[in-house]
């Protein structure tokens, strides 16, 4: 197998699993920018060690293991800068997150439907908040309200979405 073939094979696998890998990391790292850094490191390590991956085995499990090491390493580096959960609960969450990501596509479908059900103002807030560079502060500036007002609104919107997603998944019988 040429380097190019290996590279293409790796990419194919990574494409398939990246949403789940990111969701897994995000479950263990509360800040988006940090999660992005860890995903980057994880991708780099996976590629470097791709020789060790046994074809036909589960790429996702291998990726989760690698990601978990990167999460722990990252936490050690940032221990003084960030409030973080203890190692014990992290282990439990990591284990459960792995199973939880299996329902990611169902959750995404439910989320789409639920976004469609939000009030137009709330939908706009979500779009602004998650647009590149979006923050609660930015929204507050945009609408001329205080950041705490926006934070409360966002918290309420997330709560509505969570409720709606749960109902959708229950109704559809989806995993999640």
């Amino acid at each position: 197998m040429t380097d190019q073939d290996r590279h293409d094979e790796f990419m194919g696998l990574f494409i398939d699993h990246q949403p789940r890998i990111y969701a897994y990391i995000r479950s263990l790292i509360p800040h988006k920018a940090d999660a992005d850094d860890v995903l980057q490191e994880t991708a780099a390590v996976l590629w470097r060690k791709f020789d060790q991956f046994e074809k036909g085995t589960h790429f996702d499990r291998w990726a989760f293991r690698t990601a978990f090491h990167q999460v722990r390493y990252f936490r050690q580096k940032k221990a003084r800068e960030r409030l973080q959960f203890g190692d014990e609960i992290l282990d439990v969450l990591a284990q459960e997150a792995e199973e939880h990501t299996e329902g990611l596509e169902d959750t995404q479908a439910a989320l789409e439907r639920c976004l469609g059900k939000l009030a137009s103002e709330d939908r706009k807030f979500v779009a602004w908040r998650f647009a590149p560079g979006g923050t609660n502060r930015g929204i507050a500036k945009r609408i001329g309200k205080s950041e705490s007002v926006v934070s409360r609104s966002m918290s309420r919107i997330y709560g509505s979405l969570m409720k709606c997603i749960s109902l959708q998944l229950k109704f559809e019988g989806g995993a999640g």
């Binding site: 959750t107 647009a131 409720k163």
Partner: protein, 533 residues
């Protein structure tokens, strides 16, 4: 109650506002309660999905229609499309450089109704029911059919496509299109990776690169990768990557459905250059270069330029109100006080100086522009912002702006373009709405400003503003991003006055007001026209 508490902790955790005590209680709860953990995991999953595939702030009617139709399926396709594209980009970057390029992919525009802009159009014949398209025009989802000429379409996600000759292109979303036949060259610079161009044979995923695509009348597709890499998607083509310098022909009906062919494609810039792009001063509607001998003039004496209904004047008493008269009534013309680093004809001749204090000058336009009707207008002007330290409390507020007002309702709706006392580009409206940029410019330099005003009778207006610092090269076509864009505006005033305002302790120089229908009608371009973007 339980969920509300969790919602609060989760939001605080993600927004980094959680306290140590809250964190401790939250963790204890997670340790003890499997239900809370499941809730936590679903919440984080939801955030992950929103972060990686943010929903567009779509036009209300479109969202309602999608919901009525049984769910916004279009979003789903687009989200996973971005995801796959971003992933490919990640993988390649890791492989090629051991470094990461952000996976934001093609950003999703905030007004999904529109998906791109026609930023360049030279000698174009459009074969479309609506007739000719205008440079600067915003483009909705749907088909473009170019009969002849050269056009550049910039998708809101950032990718730019140059179309030459007879070409049919479907605009699907801010980050995707479909080439039905003809030739395009695609360029997706950093931030626009992940653009997807579908053809009858394959989906081509741009990985931050440049490539040419030719689709013949039978649907056979040729892909020529000029720079970077392109991933092929579609039946039996998952993840296959074509590298720079390679060209392939895809044809399902041929004995060999994919084969290498010789590279034969021009670069994006070369294709545009061939169209001999030039400045379009001839299209300009309004011009004021203050080309008068240096002197102090009386109000009413400065009546040069074109597109005006009268000379510069002071505000009337009704327009300034009691006690708000100008500090100085001089109409002072000076020379060579701007440091003009752009190819602005007349940029060194006469220019208007505003003295210290609060000074305002008004000039009526020959043709008003009616915000209640469909229209696209661009304008530009230059200002020498004096050297002053950036504002700190207690300082006089320094500022300059150009405002469009209506003589019928002077204090009603208005559109004002300038900067804050911290030199952040800003758009303001007559009802006090303010849109500021986070970009900051330094005082003590000449600044070239460009604005764009799109009015629509039944939809949101689009107002954009961009400043160029001294020495900064002017964009050859309308840039991908502006410093500041006003959202949520729907104006109906008919603007027939231009008001220049200068406030602060320092004198200021103002020059070269242009108003026209396109970027190139108000922005000077080097004669060679060699710079695209």
């Amino acid at each position: 109650m339980m969920e509300r508490e969790l919602d609060h902790w989760l939001a605080a955790l993600c927004e980094e506002t959680i306290t140590e005590e809250e964190m401790r209680v939250f963790e204890a709860r997670l340790r003890a309660d499997a239900g809370a953990r499941a809730y936590y995991l679903r919440y984080m999953q939801m955030r992950a999905l929103l972060e990686k595939f943010p929903p567009p702030a779509e036009d209300e009617e479109e969202i309602e229609a999608a919901v009525r139709a049984g769910g916004a399926r279009g979003w789903r396709g687009a989200w996973w499309g971005y995801a796959a594209a971003a992933c490919v980009a990640i993988g390649l970057t890791v492989a090629a450089q051991g470094a990461w390029v952000g996976s934001t992919g093609a950003g999703v525009g905030e007004t999904a109704e529109y998906v791109g802009t026609l930023v360049f159009s030279e000698d174009c014949v459009w074969e479309m029911p609506d007739g000719a398209l205008q440079e600067g025009q915003r483009l909705r989802k749907g088909r473009l059919h170019l009969g002849e000429g050269t056009a550049v379409v910039r998708f809101d996600g950032g990718a730019a496509l140059v179309l030459t000759g007879e070409t049919a292109l479907e605009l699907d979303s801010p980050g995707s299109g479909r080439l039905l036949f003809g030739e395009v060259v695609v360029r997706a610079d950093e931030g626009a990776e992940g653009f997807v161009l579908a053809t009858p044979e394959s989906e081509l995923v741009d990985l931050g690169t440049e490539f040419a695509v030719k689709v013949d009348s039978n649907g056979a597709t040729e892909l020529h990768v000029l720079e970077g890499e392109v991933a092929l998607r579609g039946e039996q083509r998952g993840g296959e990557v074509i590298h720079a310098g390679k060209a392939v022909r895809l044809d399902k009906r041929a004995p060999v459905s994919k084969r290498e062919v010789a590279m034969d494609a021009d670069r994006f810039d070369d294709v545009v250059r061939r169209a001999k792009p030039r400045e379009r001063r001839d299209l300009m509607w309004v011009y004021e270069g203050f080309q008068h001998e240096p002197a102090v003039y009386a109000a009413g004496d400065l009546d040069g330029g074109k597109g005006w209904a009268g000379p510069w004047r002071l505000r009337t008493e009704e327009e300034y109100g009691e006690g708000r008269a100008d500090t100085s009534t001089d109409m002072r013309i000076v020379e060579s006080k701007l440091n003009v680093t752009w190819p602005v004809k007349g940029g060194l001749l006469g220019m208007m100086e505003f003295g210290p204090g609060k000074n305002y000058r008004v000039r009526p336009l020959a043709n008003r522009f009616d915000m209640g009707k469909h229209g696209i207008r661009y304008f530009s002007f230059m200002v020498r912002e004096p050297a002053h330290r950036k504002f700190t409390p207690g300082d006089a507020r320094e500022g300059m702006r150009l405002t469009f007002r209506s003589s019928e309702d002077y204090f009603g709706e208005a559109l004002s373009f300038g900067w804050t006392h911290r030199m952040e580009p800003r758009i303001r409206t007559g009802d006090g709405r303010t849109f500021s940029s986070t970009a900051e410019y330094a005082p003590g330099q000449t600044i070239f400003c460009v604005g764009k005003v799109i009015s629509r009778p039944h939809a949101e207006d689009e107002i954009s503003f961009r400043m160029y610092a001294e020495g900064e090269e002017l964009d050859f076509v309308e840039p991908q991003s502006w410093d500041v864009q006003a959202r949520g505006l729907k104006q109906s005033a008919a603007y027939d006055l231009v008001l220049l305002s200068s406030e602060g302790e320092h004198a200021r120089i103002f020059d070269e007001i242009r108003i026209g229908p396109s970027w190139r009608s108000v922005v000077p371009i080097k004669a060679s026209g060699s710079e695209v973007e």
